[in-house]
């Protein structure tokens, strides 16, 4: 997953530099962003409170 996300980042940079359409560039960025959020969610294995006194 991490490897795929970095590959997506590289592809997004390439599309941005080549000035592909706004839809393609933003689509690439958002796909990478959502995948990164899903990865973050996967690694958050306990509650956000962490048993601390807030």
């Amino acid at each position: 997953m991490d490897t795929l996300i970095f590959a997506g980042l590289l592809a997004t940079v390439a599309m941005m530099y080549q000035q592909r359409s706004r839809r393609a560039v933003l689509g690439g960025w958002w796909i990478v962003f959502v995948l990164t959020c899903l990865l973050l969610g996967h690694h958050i294995t306990s509650g956000l409170g962490l048993g601390l006194t807030w």
Binding site: M1, D2, T3, I5, F6, A7, L9, L10, T12, V13, A14, M16, Y17, Q19, R22, V25, L26, W29, V32, F33, T36, C37, L39, L40, H42, H43, I44, L48, L50, L52
Partner: protein, 210 residues
Amino acid sequence: MSVLSENATDRRRSALGQTQFWLACLFVVGWTGVVCGGLAVQFISWDYPCPLCMVQRMFMLLAGLGGGYIVRNAMNGEIEAPDYATGWGLALIGCTAGGFASWRQTMLHILPGDPGYGAPVLGLHMYVWALLLFVAAIAVIGVVLSLSNLTGAGSLPAVPNRLVGRVCFGFIGAVIAVNLVSVFALEGLHWFLPDDPDRYRLFYDLHLLP
């Protein structure tokens, strides 16, 4: 107003009008530089980055690409207000999500006596630096946007902006490529990194190392 003072005012406005372009360059180079710091700790101190560290690197690069969007459009000499807004919007989203990830990792090690993950750099752990930088970046974007009538010129000089833009894209592209190779070696032929990586698994998956 005399002609001389009008010219001086125009020059000041022209220089101030490029502020967002140069800040966008700083975003690309700055976030990429921070990721380079992570790579330095990884390969010089030989620390294995944890999964949340990698997630923060991704958000840093996504925030940097927000600046990259502005830089690339400005390299043409003309940039419109929606392009500035799009770039800063992407940067803000990246910084907010990255701030959340680094806050989460900071909280995991907040209890007194917890040694934290990895070695501290300049007195703070990497994820605490990341949290401070994400919050600072959000504040800087807010300040510049609040002055956008002065700082966001529509026309920008081709020299040296085009060259600066190429350098920015070369830098971020190269660092992403290095991260891609490095994380592939770390993750190997698996979907996810282990919670506490202790080796470059690709070499073991391929039986190149016993």
